[in-house]
């Protein structure tokens, strides 16, 4: 018996939540959870964790597209069935991790992965470039200012050697979000590739009455650039909105709220590059990514300007930063003026903030001391 459209609520099950994680643990993980003592990266993409029981788990990390097919996942399952007792996991950065419980099982697994063309690149560990986290882009989203999967593919092709090696001063986290909504949350990445619009929304007066709540559209603008206005449709005056284009900062929030205000445009849209963000509390507190290149065009299918810009930043960082220094820490040590110079990026007015945000005295970190104030 399956779903019965005549009685949709009959036998319905809801609110089950996700399956319990423990049933998916490989045996060595199940037996050693909470007992791990230390780890070591044996070679790029291969980690060993040592337990207090003496057990070891060897993890082989594999990069790849986030956009993957049913057939691909089945292939992943074939590998895990053959080598990993039918278990695997994914990382938060869309890598796949195959785990085995002895060193002898590592090489056969690596050989298997290598035998399958370029589908399973091993790497993404330590002081290198790991997988790029990204959003949907033109493959699924209605608000993007650029594609996601294609840009990522082009950038990773160029940075491939940094994925399979550990030669950088520290890990370099790259992220892509295809518009300012930032489903990919690229605001704290070493290098952020961000889709941006540069033309104000058009107003579709024919459709606005049917698809928009005008007060919501007006309220959606953080700069008050959307105002009530009258328009004439088929000789009749209707209530609509207008945009004060001088105030528009192209965030696209009005389009999110009102489908009759599209702003995407082949010439207007492209990519901004932000750098120096990080999430970790290591040494310095978490940092936001800062805008260093305001616009690069959407040159399909391989975005050569974006690829070149990212590579130039990675190479300048690699050459100049100290061991353990993240991109943002390096930039702060040498000073941003030196950053622009060393990366050969022209500094423009666009990198000078003229928006708002003044909460910077709040402590956005886990760094604090236990003083008498903490009860």
């Amino acid at each position: 018996m399956g779903y019965n459209p005549d009685k949709p609520m009959d036998g319905r099950i809801s609110d089950l939540g996700p399956p319990h994680y423990e049933q998916f643990f490989p045996a060595v993980i199940k037996e050693n959870k909470g007992k791990w003592l230390w780890h070591e990266i044996l070679q790029p993409g291969v980690l060993m964790h040592k337990s207090e029981t003496g057990a070891e788990v060897y993890t082989v990390r594999v990069g790849g597209a986030r956009l993957v097919s049913v057939e691909f996942i089945r292939e992943v399952c074939d590998i895990a069935d053959k080598h990993c007792d039918g278990f695997l996991r994914f990382t938060t950065r869309n890598n796949i991790e195959f785990m085995v419980d002895s060193k002898a099982k590592v090489q056969p697994l690596l050989d298997e992965l290598a035998s399958r063309g370029n589908k399973f690149p091993v790497g993404g560990t330590g002081a290198g470039v790991t997988n790029i986290v990204h959003t949907q882009g033109w493959v699924h989203c209605h608000t993007p200012a650029t594609d996601a999967s294609g840009v990522v593919k082009a950038v990773m092709d160029e940075l491939f050697d940094y994925f399979t090696s550990m030669t950088l001063p520290a890990q370099c986290r790259i992220a892509l979000a295809c518009c300012l909504n930032m489903c990919g949350a690229v605001h704290a990445s070493d290098i952020a590739i961000l889709g941006v619009h540069r033309k104000p929304p058009m107003i579709d007066h024919l459709r606005i009455t049917g698809v928009c709540e005008l007060p919501l559209a007006i309220a959606s603008c953080p700069l008050g650039a959307v105002k009530p206005a009258k328009a004439v449709v088929d000789g009749k005056e209707i209530k609509s909105v207008q945009v004060n284009v001088e105030r528009c900062m192209f965030c696209g929030n009005c389009y999110t709220m009102c489908p009759a205000m599209p702003l995407a445009d082949p010439e207007g849209d492209g990519i901004a590059i932000l750098v120096g963000g990080k999430v970790s509390n290591r040494i310095s507190m978490p940092k936001f990514s800062k805008l260093v290149i305001p616009f690069l065009p959407n040159t399909t299918p391989r975005w050569p300007e974006t690829v070149a810009a990212v590579k130039k930043i990675v190479e300048a960082y690699s050459k100049d930063a100290h061991k353990y220094e993240r991109v943002g820490e390096w930039a702060e040590r040498i000073g941003w003026e030196k950053f622009f110079e060393k990366c050969d990026i022209p500094f423009t007015m666009k990198s000078i903030d003229d928006y708002r945000l003044a909460y910077d005295t709040w402590r956005t970190s886990t760094q604090f001391k236990y003083t008498s104030h903490i009860k």
């Binding site: 319905r12 609110d15 939540g17 996700p18 994680y21 959870k33 909470g34 791990w36 003592l37 230390w38 070591e40 788990v57 597209a65 986030r66 956009l67 097919s69 049913v70 057939e71 996942i73 399952c77 039918g86 695997l88 785990m99 370029n118 002081a127 986290v133 949907q136 882009g137 033109w138 493959v139 209605h142 608000t143 594609d147 593919k153 092709d157 491939f160 300012l180 909504n181 489903c183 605001h187 965030c251 599209p262 995407a264 509390n281 290591r282 040494i283 978490p286 936001f288 959407n298 399909t300 299918p301 391989r302 353990y324 005295t361 402590r363 956005t364 886990t366 001391k369 104030h373 903490i374």
Partner: protein
């Protein structure tokens, strides 16, 4: 046989990184709608603009989230993607899977969907990419009945919580991130599936201040592991590092010759609080000065470990820039014990106190971090009944505009201007 010419996308089949185009083409052999994904995407590459329509409200009965409606704006040309709704399936904690489970889910998706997925979406769900409206209920039936699995969140509700790998395979996790994440996900199924919030709300659980799940940057409530006592030191292992017998940072830097390991330069001098020193060949730490940034532990994982009195720091209010700018989560509770014995009671109380307040006064599409900004951190701390401590700020305010209240000033605010004028001519 390809249904559309894709000369631009074909150029993304070369190069060393795995190609999603090649993968899509392979899948198209058995799921022809993938040709229309390729065809529409190729057109976007030609025209440099998206061809997906705005929105579309679809879902399954009883849920207000978990499915994102999507329609092609060229349905006649690309009928295979006329409807292209996304299903978010709640992922298990830490994203471990059995192949049996994944194969079953893939079989379902082959039956009901496009055959394309994301492993995983940015928030953490399994994303099943592209299906038709009429498939949603049958898919949901099979997902719940045959697999015992469920949808994740979308819209103005609690989004599917996510956690780092935690104690299952990491020596640094200061609490069981999997246990808390799973417990909170189950506890708040109603909040995940039925939108009742001003806007989205996210929990993320990281086991240590390295914050591998980016909790401090991305979650409304970030639960980040930390400890209260001393970093555990194995002095014999410290000597092995100094002797060069153990690789620094767990081997993370082995691809380049950085010279001989120098503990003074690489650990002691880089400590942000300068709370370490070498004495008689031993590494000493003044733990009362330590802010637990993890650097020394990261560099010498075989010699140093987090303390044993562990819990979590709770930070609130992170978000991406839309609209007022990006925010990191602000430290609210410096240390909270995380115990499954009382079902994480303290955390639950904290979560629900925030929700009670935010659901009442949060504006439409206002993240809790923005509500905090709008009303101020002092107002938030009062609501949370948290005593202000210096740890809440990076530095004290630099302006003198204090909102004194009537009760705080002797005599109160009520005064008589006539009486004032009797003594002070205008």
């Amino acid at each position: 046989m390809a249904k559309h010419e894709t000369p631009l996308l074909d150029q993304l089949e070369s190069g060393p990184w795995p190609s999603f185009v090649t993968d899509l083409k392979r899948q198209a052999e058995t799921k022809p709608e993938c040709w229309d994904i390729l065809g529409q995407l190729e057109l976007s590459y030609e025209e440099r603009i998206t061809h997906w329509k705005h929105g579309g409200i679809v879902g399954v009965f009883g849920y207000g989230g978990g499915i994102v409606g999507r329609y092609s704006d060229l349905p006649k040309r690309f009928p295979g993607v006329e409807h292209f709704h996304t299903i978010r399936v709640a992922q298990p904690a830490s994203k471990y899977y059995s192949t049996k489970n994944l194969r079953q889910l893939m079989d379902l998706w082959e039956k009901y969907g496009s055959g394309m997925t994301n492993f995983h979406g940015s928030t953490g769900d399994i994303i099943l990419l592209g299906t038709r409206t009429e498939n949603l209920e049958p898919f949901f039936w099979d997902l719940t009945h045959d697999m015992g699995q469920d949808l994740g969140g979308s819209g103005s509700n609690l989004r599917t919580p996510a956690n780092c790998i935690g104690q299952s395979r990491c020596e640094w996790a200061c609490y069981d991130t999997e246990a808390v994440c799973h417990a909170m996900t189950l506890k708040y199924q109603d909040e995940i599936h039925r939108p009742a919030f001003p806007y989205k709300f996210k929990f993320k659980f990281s086991g240590c201040p390295n914050d591998c799940v980016a909790a401090i940057a991305r979650s409304d409530i970030a639960v980040i592991g930390t400890w209260k006592d001393q970093i555990r030191i194995d002095q014999a292992a410290v000597k092995e590092y100094i002797a060069g017998n153990y690789p620094s940072n767990g081997g993370a830097h082995s691809g380049r010759d950085w010279g001989k390991f120098d503990i003074e330069k690489e650990v002691v001098a880089l400590c942000p609080t300068q709370c370490m020193w070498m004495e008689g060949g031993e590494l000493k730490i003044d733990d009362t000065e330590c802010t637990r940034c993890m650097h020394c532990i990261n560099v010498m994982p075989r010699a140093l470990r987090p303390g044993a009195d562990t819990g979590a720091t709770i930070c609130v209010g992170a978000k991406a820039p839309i609209l007022d700018g990006a925010q990191f989560a602000t430290l609210i509770i410096p240390f909270m014990k995380m115990s499954a014995d009382n079902e994480f009671e303290e955390l639950v109380e904290f979560i629900e106190k925030i929700w009670d307040w935010w659901m009442e006064i949060g504006k439409n599409r206002e993240r809790v971090g923005e509500t905090m900004q709008r009303l101020g951190l002092p107002a938030f701390l009062k609501v949370m009944e948290v005593e202000p401590i210096p740890q809440h700020v990076k530095e004290p305010r630099s302006n003198p505009y204090v909102f004194w209240s009537d009760e705080e000033v002797p005599g109160g605010f009520e005064r008589d201007v006539v009486e004032f004028r009797a003594r002070h001519a205008a």
